[in-house]
Each structure stands twice: as C-alpha cells, then as structure tokens.
C-alpha cells in the first residue's frame, strides 16, 4: 500500500491502545452475575468535547466520592460540584433518573440512567456542553452557551424511546416538533442547587408513533429518533424563547425563527 493510504487508514480509526479492558466484567456477565460496576462501555457515554485530562485530575476525588456510572467512564468531565438528581420517573414500567452536574471543562453535564431493581445502570447516556445559567470556569470550552438541547435514546429493553434535556429557566414548557408534523409538549422541571438557574424536561416519545405490530423494533425506534425537526422552549405565554433545530443548528444553537 502507499504511505498515503497507510496514513489514511491509520487516521480513519482511532487506537484503543490506552483503553483499559475489563476482564472481570466479561467473566461476571458470562456467569450471569449482575454487577453495578460493569465495563464502562456498557453505557453509552456521549460527550460534547474531548477534554483535557490534566485539568481533571485535581477534582478527581470529588468524582470518586460519587459512585455514578459516568465517573467510571474515561473522559467524563470532572464536576465543580456533586451531581444532583434532578428528577426520577418511570416510563412503561422502566424506572430512570435524570442526573446533572456543572463541570470544570464542559459546562453542564446531564444523564438519563435506567435504575432497575438489580442496580444495573446499563443503557445510561450522558452528554455535556456549555449552557446558559451554568457558571463557566477558566477551563470551560469557548463555544456559545446553549439555551436548549436534548439527549434522545431509541427503544431498548431498559427504557422506551425518550427525549430529555435542559432549557433556560424562563421556559415552562418544551415543545418538540417531529418531521411528520406532530408535536410533543413536556413541562419543565426545576433543578436543585447549584443548577437552580436552568430547568429540565424529560418525556418518553409517544407510543402512538409506533405501529402496534412493530412496537419496540429497532428500525421503527431509530427512525423515530432521527425525525426530530426542532425543539423549542416556551415561556408561560407560549412564546418561543429558546430554539434548537438539529439539522441546521450551529454549535447547538438555532435562531428562534427556526422553531415555527
């Protein structure tokens, strides 16, 4: 092969040389032993940034003090204060919790994590990004603050399809428009300190979106997740005050006119 081809192939897929494999987890799972400390890759962690490890080290102790699954995942931003449970709930018999924390480098981090009786957190997801109302540090990325964003999962055996996220504190409702023209409205939820200046929303994606005979199939669920046209934060009078149109947003921010 040519050197250029070698280079292109090498750059195409990043190395896992620094990854720590977890044989204990493999054996435990093979033996059918439920384990809360599973290999981190059993959870889907989505980060908005690649973070600088050196910055994270001084606050590692704070992270360790909380046994949240995302702190056992390499690359998780270190918190500036302990994660808080914003709300908990149950969708179609599957319990979950929404946890959030302000981070040193990545702004707001929030996660949706299934909380089944066996203690597993398999299926949890997290994302981070600078957000209006969350204080920046000197190390916070320079991207503009988002005013609304989302984390969405398709149907799995631990959670139905869902959408959740933060919105600016003036928003009392979040409206989600799907590509087929249907909308979903979710009330916003106040967050405890130190996140009292933002609100959150969380909702299962409507069961009506799924034909009865294909409920839960990956094809339908994944397709549904891909059809979000926009999300809007609405104030008490129904006025759009925050907007995100994923297809056209720049750095996670859309003009208000994109949400109507």
């Amino acid at each position: 092969m040519t050197d250029l081809l070698d280079t292109a192939m090498n750059d195409l897929v990043p190395s896992y040389a620094a990854e720590q494999p977890d044989w204990t987890n493999v054996v435990a799972r093979a033996e059918g032993v439920p384990s809360r400390r599973r290999f981190v890759s059993r959870r889907r962690l989505v980060l908005a940034l690649i973070v600088v490890a050196a910055v994270l080290i001084p606050l590692a102790a704070l992270a360790d003090a909380n046994d949240w699954w995302f702190f056992r995942t390499p690359g998780s931003p270190v918190p500036t204060s302990a994660p808080v449970v914003v709300t908990t709930g149950e969708w179609s018999g599957h319990p979950w919790e929404l946890v959030a924390y302000p981070s040193e480098t990545d702004g707001l981090c929030f996660s949706i994590t299934p909380t089944p009786a066996d203690g597993s957190s398999y299926g949890g997801a997290m994302t981070c990004g600078p957000f209006a109302g969350v204080p920046r540090t000197a190390a916070t990325k320079t991207d503009a603050d988002m005013q609304i964003t989302f984390l969405s999962g398709s149907w799995t055996n631990v959670l139905p399809a869902y959408i959740a996220g933060p919105v600016i504190e003036q928003a009392s409702t979040v409206e989600i428009r799907f590509q087929d023209g249907t909308t979903l409205q979710a009330p916003t939820i106040a967050a405890p300190p130190p996140l009292e200046h933002i609100r959150f929303y969380a909702a299962p994606l409507p069961p009506a979106e799924y034909p009865a005979d294909t409920l839960g199939t990956l094809h339908v669920a994944t397709k549904h997740v891909a059809t979000i046209t926009w999300l809007a934060g609405l104030d008490a009078s129904g006025r759009v005050i925050a907007c995100l149109a994923p297809g056209t947003a720049k750095n996670g921010v859309s003009p208000l006119t994109d949400c109507r």
Partner: protein, 162 residues
C-alpha cells in the same frame, strides 16, 4: 474436562488482555462508534466464554475468537442509537483528507472491508483472516488486492481534488 475448559478460559483471557486494542479497533471500524465497538468486544467475549466448550480446536483459537468479535460488531451496527443535540459524531474529528476518504472505505463490499480491517487494524496474516471469514487464503489475497486497488484509486482522486 473441567481442567481442559479452565485452561481454555485462561487462553481466552490471555487473548483478551493481549489483543484488546486490536479487537476494539477492528470493531470500531465495523461499527463506527467508539463506545459501541468496545461494548461489542465485551459482548463477544461473554459469548466466547459461555461457548468455549464448543471450540473444536481444528483451527486457531484466536481465529475463533476473532470471528465472534467480528460477528458481534456486525450485530452492533443494528442496535439502537442515542442521539444528542446536534446530529454529528463529535467524539472524533477526522482530518479533511481522511474524512473525504472514509466514504470510499464504507462503500467497499463487506468482505473487502472486513479483510482490510483485519489486515490493517489487527495485523493478522492471510491464513488467520481466511479462518475468521471462513474463506480460502487465496480469496483473502485477491480480496485484499482488489480493495487496495480501489482505495488507491479513490485516494489519488481525493488528493487530486484537494
């Protein structure tokens, strides 16, 4: 029998520990997602441990394990996705040339892609690749040559257009 399978478990563990980055990188090439690839490797080894008694030792254990990893990664491409605010892969940003080149790799026929991935990211010899994919060694050689020719041609075009 117990002693035999325990020894096999030790061999599997040694493979896992020694070759994890290679398993994960090939899985990543197939799956296209870092976390999902690592998960696919874990899933593959769970299956390998559970079915290790069925390994008949008529070929290398490594090829048998690799086959499980490749199958697990292929299966993982059909699992549900989690989506965040902006619809883009922000985990790993590709250089421009590589980003232009990536679709050509993706558009290779599946067998060519797998051969390329196993040769490139796992550094496996033709015989092992043949055992993994259950084809003749000559087929591996021909498939790889064909893939190389296609990729070289596409890469030259990308370079010329840049």
């Amino acid at each position: 029998m117990v002693r035999h399978t325990d020894r096999r478990l030790a061999e599997i563990e040694a493979l896992y520990r020694d070759r994890f980055p290679y398993f994960a990188q090939v899985a990543r090439a197939i799956v296209g997602d870092r976390e999902r690839a690592a998960e696919a490797v874990q899933d593959a080894f769970v299956g390998v441990i559970r079915t290790r008694d069925s390994f008949r030792a008529d070929g290398p254990l490594e090829a048998w394990v690799w086959r499980a990893v490749v199958n697990s990664a292929r299966k993982a491409t059909r699992r549900p996705l989690v989506q965040v605010g902006e619809e883009k892969d922000i985990e790993y940003e590709l250089p421009e040339l590589v980003a232009s080149f990536a679709p050509f790799v993706s558009s290779l026929p599946e067998r060519q892609r797998l051969v390329v991935f196993l040769r490139y990211y796992a550094d496996l010899d033709y015989r092992t690749i043949a055992a993994i994919l259950d084809v003749e060694v000559g087929t591996v050689s021909a498939t790889l040559a064909s893939a190389h020719a296609t990729l070289r041609k596409k890469l030259r075009k990308v370079e010329a257009d840049a």
